[in-house]
């Protein structure tokens, strides 16, 4: 190729790339650098703009200091992390959905009985809806009909319909989805509460008919279950410690997954925050002493952080479970009194305590059928069938097939999904807060991204908002580094 022709080709290539490069420079790189600079200034949109020629003042770390001493910042950071507690469940949900969809295609030969059942459900639901006179049950009928139609379509198409339906949330524009969910969560007319209310009425009646001792049965069961989980986790940590599979930092992370819920539950039970911290700290010190003073026949682990990734991942799943059990323990004894007045479905978005979980549930719905599911589907299709055949020949159960073949083979996909989910989780919450709750009630759904919007565009403090944005970047970066350092991104042999 002549020099002239080569130059010409380079020129054409650059021309093709130019729009993208210009877009990147204009809308990403330059604003990024500017916002970094702005975070060290007192840039206020009201004083520093095209109509006001006031000079910008370099404020050093003032914005950051103010941020870390701003009580609302910690609340909003807490909200952001709270919303992220749903991530392990959304990842597990995506994997579950992908596994189901992979298996769904194998059901196509059982078309006749499934279609028969679906047709019967549809006819009954349809006729009842047509006849009317059962407004309270209409939601159930509607859902029954929808389920039957989905089942029928699924068995006819061998799972293609399911894949499409599961992926639907990803097609829908965010704001439209949030408006829809706002309607679903309506405490009076939303289908969620319309479906829940009759069930809760029945539950109230059932609780009322139970002997008084029942009030303590639920908390008792929750306590037993929590103790079983705590015992299991301690045993795990002990074994990991004995086999030198967990270093000191990993052990601490494992213990925190038990003690953070303990601390919160104690405060829910009425203990002062400081007393709860003291009790949790004493338990922590005692357990750590017990674990660290055990003999280690295999020698000490090479690194103090050995096994940290696994412990953190497990902690993220354990904490919500233990908190749910803790909430049951607290709420249980009040059940009879509540049931006598009639337990109603919650005011999802209007109640301080329910607003965050409500948004988490919605996030879970959106995340299960998202790109994560597609990535898992692709990952599953890449697993060599020979591995399963070998496992079958060895007589492996389906659980063993999943745990020893599927899960390790999906490690790189899970790693990628975890990284992306954490990044999206930290950056998320803006659209939901803006559309559904305006960050309320009482700031309970304000995340860091919404806080940036408020400070930047409602208060006008662009310098301060930039500082928040860069702190958020630091968090994203730090957690991504952590994921890279401790996450399992290699297929186990």
């Amino acid at each position: 190729m002549s020099h002239r022709s080569k130059s010409r080709n380079i020129f054409i290539g650059v021309m093709f790339l130019l729009p993208n490069i210009l877009g990147f420079l204009a809308f990403i790189l330059v604003p990024l650098v500017m916002s970094f600079g702005m975070s060290f200034t007192d840039w206020d949109v009201l004083r520093h703009n095209m109509f006001r020629d006031e000079a910008l003042r370099f404020t050093g770390l003032e914005n950051f200091v103010r941020l870390f001493t701003h009580p609302q910042f910690w609340q909003y950071l807490g909200n952001t992390f709270f919303m992220m507690l749903g991530l392990p469940f959304s990842i597990a949900g995506s994997l579950g959905a992908a596994l189901l969809l992979t298996r769904a295609s194998k059901f196509r030969y059982n078309v006749k009985p499934a279609l028969f059942v679906a047709t019967v459900i549809m006819v009954v639901c349809g006729l009842t809806l047509l006849m009317g006179g059962m407004p309270e049950r209409q939601v159930w009928l509607f859902f029954g009909m929808l389920a039957a139609m989905t089942l029928a379509a699924g068995v006819m198409t061998g799972g293609t319909v399911y894949r499409t339906l599961f992926y639907l949330p990803n097609f829908t524009a965010g704001v439209a989805t949030y408006v829809l969910w706002k309607k679903l969560y309506n405490p009076n007319t939303g289908p969620i509460n319309q479906a829940l209310n009759p069930a809760l009425e029945g539950f109230s009646g059932w609780v009322n008919s139970m002997p008084a001792l029942f009030a303590y049965a639920l908390p008792f069961l929750a306590t037993v279950l929590a103790l079983v989980i705590v015992g299991w986790q301690l045993r795990r940590l002990r074994v990991a410690r004995d086999l030198s599979e967990a270093g000191l930092v990993a052990i601490i992370a494992g213990l925190l997954s038990l003690l953070v819920p303990l601390w919160l539950c104690l405060t829910w039970l009425g203990m002062t925050a400081i007393m709860a911290v003291i009790v949790a700290a004493v338990c922590f010190a005692a357990l750590l002493f017990w674990l660290m003073n055990r003999p280690q026949p295999w020698g000490k682990p090479k690194n103090m952080d050995k096994g940290l990734g696994a412990e953190v991942a497990l902690a993220l799943a354990l904490i919500p479970v233990l908190l749910t059990l803790g909430a049951t323990l607290v709420v249980g004894p009040t059940l009879p009194a509540a049931a006598s007045e009639g337990i109603g479905a919650p005011d999802w978005l209007g109640n301080y305590h329910w607003a965050k979980p409500a948004i988490m549930f919605m996030g879970l719905w959106a995340a299960i059928g998202s790109n994560n599911m597609v990535l898992y589907l692709a990952g599953l299709s890449n697993i060599s069938p020979e591995l399963y055949e070998a496992a079958d020949m060895d007589g492996a159960t389906s659980g063993q097939r999943f745990w020893f073949i599927t899960w390790p083979q999906l490690a790189p996909v899970t790693f990628f999904i975890s990284i992306m989910s954490v990044i999206h989780g930290l950056q998320g919450g803006f659209e939901m807060a803006r559309v559904m709750t305006l960050g309320g009630p009482a700031g309970s759904t304000t995340t860091l991204s919404y806080f940036i919007f408020i400070e930047g565009f409602e208060t006008g403090r662009l310098g301060y908002a930039s500082a928040v944005a860069w702190v958020l970047f630091g968090l994203v970066f730090g957690l991504s580094i952590f994921n890279f350092r401790y996450g399992n991104r290699h297929v186990a042999d």
């Binding site: 206020d44 949109v45 009201l46 703009n49 405490p187 009076n188 309320g440 009482a442 565009f457």
Partner: protein
């Protein structure tokens, strides 16, 4: 591929050029003013009347186009500060400070004097809404005082007596208790509430003012809400919203709005069907209420706790600093003082006409097609200027910022996260923190703050000695009214 790429580029260039050259202001031979406002019948008629008024006054013709898609505060601000703001902007009370401070509103002080739309043309109480830092930034399109609307049918349905013209918060609570008990027998599914507050949440400002307390001190240098009166107001609020459920929470309001079969204006549908017994809104409510036929309406003053007061504010028309048509936008503001415009406001059921004398017109007091509104017209014309007080606009913290803090603290109180005492303390601390940040960032504000603090010290000394305070020392609109009513003001100079 290269040809496709070039073809697309060319097509985009051609399309962009066509769009640019066919834009209304390019295609029109006369100036086109863009007006960011709600697109409704009153605004459409305003434009028609403006064109007629221009012709009658032998002024060159101008076209006005409504832009109703960019009404949000952040949109207006972002566009304006990016240099592409609309020529005419609707700016509402709470946000005037932010627009004026940013410099994107044109200073019309001289033009107003020249064309006769200065602050003296409107209500004296509203002058602080037009003038910011000694400069005039617009003229009111209307003036709004919140009064209490009564649907007489609703009270008759449950056999409950209607509120009197002037009533106290104790009477409000007593009547409210009776009403919700009668309207919500056991087993009621859709709760009937006693009152729908004016904003998203009941304004605590009116309650505090009723007890002689404002959010800020006399010079507006400091928030002083950590006060037993604030605690009392918080207690009442909690009782009315959570315990007695006389007033819906924000979530209840949203849920009820979603229940209504009509999009927009759900509040009026709920009021007309009796789900709310009372509405706390300005006169513009008539525009919506007229759609429900001839409702038997009555209007009374908002309840008070010793000092009758109502929130009084205005939506101003401001001009964008970078407008290409400063003369024409000024003419539009001048038009707002005309007969044509003021009578349009009076007969359309909008809030009070910007020029006070028109509240005495037949169109305002006794619209011939709506005899059921005559009592309302009479109350608005008399009570609004008498007890209406605008919101505080301290130069050290934006009204939208302190209102947001107040709303958050209210929500925390109602969610049981804060006790009334903690709420009062938190409110004061957070607002004062904002003031501190603001004066630390801006040397001019710091200087002004220091000066006013010295004045405040003198005021405090006079108050302690129970002596009258020079009027010109007081910057807080509430204390001006309050001390005036209590005879605590003196016209003597500051010395």
């Amino acid at each position: 591929m290269k040809s496709v790429f070039l073809g697309i580029t060319l097509a985009l260039v051609v399309a962009s050029s066509m769009l640019y050259w066919t834009a209304p202001d390019r295609a029109s031979p006369i100036p086109v003013l863009y007006w960011i406002t709600q697109d409704d019948e009153v605004k459409q008629e305003t434009i028609i009347l403006f064109k007629e008024w221009l012709a009658e006054n032998n002024l060159p013709p101008v076209d006005v186009k409504i832009d109703n898609t960019n009404q949000g505060l952040t949109k207006k601000l972002t566009q304006g500060l990016a240099g592409v703001g609309s020529d005419i902007l609707d700016v509402y009370g709470i946000n005037i400070g932010i627009f004026a401070a940013s410099g994107m509103l044109m200073d019309v002080t001289e033009k107003a004097q020249e064309l006769g739309f200065g602050p003296d043309k409107t209500y004296a109480a509203l002058r602080s809404d037009l003038v910011y830092g000694g400069k005039q930034y617009g003229f009111p399109r209307n003036a709004a005082a919140s009064m209490v609307w009564i649907n007489q049918d609703t009270f008759a349905r449950y056999g409950i007596e209607e509120p009197p013209h002037r009533w106290t918060w104790d009477e409000f609570e007593e009547l409210g208790r009776k009403f919700v008990a009668a309207a919500n027998p056991p087993g009621t599914r859709d709760r009937v509430y006693f009152m729908k507050p004016s904003l998203s949440m009941m304004s605590m400002v009116e309650l505090r003012r009723g007890m002689g307390l404002s959010t800020f001190n006399e010079t507006m240098t400091e928030c002083h809400l950590d006060d037993p009166r604030t605690v009392e107001v918080m207690r009442r609020m909690y009782r009315w919203v959570v315990e007695l459920q006389l007033i819906p929470t924000i979530a209840d309001q949203n849920a009820m709005t979603a229940d209504t079969p009509i999009a927009g204006g759900a509040t009026f549908h709920l009021f007309s069907t009796g789900r709310y017994a009372l509405l706390n809104l300005p006169r513009w409510a008539l525009i919506r209420l007229r759609r429900y036929g001839k409702l038997p309406l009555r209007v009374v003053e908002p309840p008070h706790t010793g000092f009758p007061n109502a929130q009084f504010g205005c939506g101003i028309i401001g001009a964008y600093t970078n407008t290409r048509y400063p003369e024409e936008t000024a003419q539009f503001m001048q038009f707002l003082t005309s007969d044509k415009f003021n009578l349009l406001i009076a007969r359309s059921g909008d809030s009070l006409p910007p020029v006070p004398k028109y509240t005495q017109s037949e169109e305002f007091l006794r619209p011939p097609d709506h005899p059921e509104e005559w009592q309302a017209g009479e109350v608005f014309s008399r009570a609004a200027p008498e007890i209406g007080i605008p919101i505080c606009r301290p130069p050290f913290v934006l009204a939208n910022v302190y209102s947001r803090i107040e709303s958050q603290v209210q929500q925390s109180l109602l969610a049981g996260r804060l006790t009334p005492e903690e709420a009062a303390k938190t409110l004061e601390e957070r607002i004062n923190k904002e003031i501190e940040i603001s004066i630390n960032e801006d040397a001019k504000k710091r200087k002004l703050h220091d000066e006013l603090k010295l004045v405040q010290e003198k005021i405090d000394q006079l108050k302690a000695a129970n002596r009258p305070i020079p009027r010109e020392w007081i910057k807080n609109p509430f204390y001006l009214h309050y001390y005036e009513a209590k005879g605590l003001l003196t016209e003597e100079g500051a010395g």
